[in-house]
Amino acid sequence: MPSTRDIRRRIKSVKSTAQITKAMQLVAAAKMKKAQDQATNGRAYAETMNKILVALRDAAEEGSHPYFEEGKGNKTLVLVIASDKGLCGALNTNLFKKLLAAKLEGECDFVTIGRKASQALSRLRKTLIADFPIKDPAKFTDLRTAGNFLQEKFRGGDYKKVLVAFNNFVNTVTIVPTIEQLLPVNKVTLGGKRSFEGMGSALEVKETGTDVPEYTFEPSAAAVFDSILPQYVNNTVFQMLLEARASEHSSRMVAMKNATDNAKQMLKDLSLEYNKLRQAAITNELLEITTAKMALE
């Protein structure tokens, strides 16, 4: 039987925990908003790039670029985007589960963004060839290093394809761990719409097949194509990273909200118990006094 003092101490500690989780919840909410805004801001870039790509698709001879064909090697390179910090529910676990369930054929090498990803993969004894720490909020220049690295590895010819595993942000409560193919570039989806429905109205790149003006390309269509494709790939990875970041923050927000709610429930239970104990003590005391008085009479 705990004493009233023990319970008071526990109430105090639960209260301060609740305060912390509440604060983390608010911070995560603000950060989620920021990540979503960032994705919205990148919209103009993606749209224009898609427009140019569509115009180029016909101009440049299709399939001539190495990015359209599977590499000669038979290994697969997987970029895993996870969070740096924990306390975000089952977010990372779900992603790794999905990755393990995917049963990637052949030999796989891994590249990671986020501390949790590198930790988990080294625990699973996978071949980790690079880890890119990217701060929050993510900057495009930071990400470009990672994007270029992937492309270089692909061009090197050891890898058949490059995949990206990340958490796709559908809405605040629905986050879908996704594995998408980055390279070779899918000709069908090139210049089309990436499934960004998740970001709400954040990124809707329309099919721009119809009203694309005729461009002159300088120095030549092929040269422009060569320089646009790597940028397209980098931008795709950047968008995926933003999705993963939005997922992380929203997932943390939900986890922290649950923690706050649980702490509140606990406080309620504890106070009830505390009051009961206190009442029992008072009743006891009264009883003693009355009995003593009656004994005296």
Binding site: G42, T48, F140, E214, Q231
Partner: protein, 138 residues
């Protein structure tokens, strides 16, 4: 007929306004764009972008990217675009020195990626410095 200039990066729309003319660093040399230019797509390289509006010219340091010109708009897709007032000369110079130092210290046989990253940093920094210094001497 006005010319609309838009500068966008993957992170934000940096600039969007109507201007009289634009001079930008194309991959094959400086290129001037006036209203009603023919439709054109070309690649952009590190350097200085100048636009004129009402006789006043404004300078930007830009990074690699693409330029899309249609009759009424010029859209610049780049990974870096900084207005000349926003360039912190000291910070950039420091970054440049750091990058150069890093380049010297890179061991042979290190990943090409690292070299490429440092080179990109140098290019970016020098482009910014170039634009900033030029303004000072004017």
């Amino acid at each position: 007929m006005p010319l609309k200039l838009e500068i966008v990066t993957p992170e934000a729309r940096i600039f969007s306004d109507e201007v009289d003319s634009v001079v930008l660093p194309g991959v094959e040399g400086e290129m001037g764009v006036l209203p009603a230019h023919a439709n054109l797509v070309t690649t952009l390289t590190h350097g200085e972008l100048v636009y004129t509006k009402g006789g006043k010219s404004t300078h930007f340091a830009v990074g690699e990217g693409l330029v899309e010109v249609t009759g009424s708009t010029t859209r610049i897709l780049t990974d870096m675009a900084i207005g000349v007032e926003d360039i912190d000369e000291k910070a950039v110079q420091e970054a440049l020195d750091r990058a150069k130092h890093a380049l010297e210290n890179i061991k042979p046989g290190t990943d090409n990626e690292e070299v490429a990253a440092v080179m990109a940093m140098i290019q970016r920094s020098s482009a910014q410095l170039h634009v900033k210094r030029k303004r000072h001497t004017l």
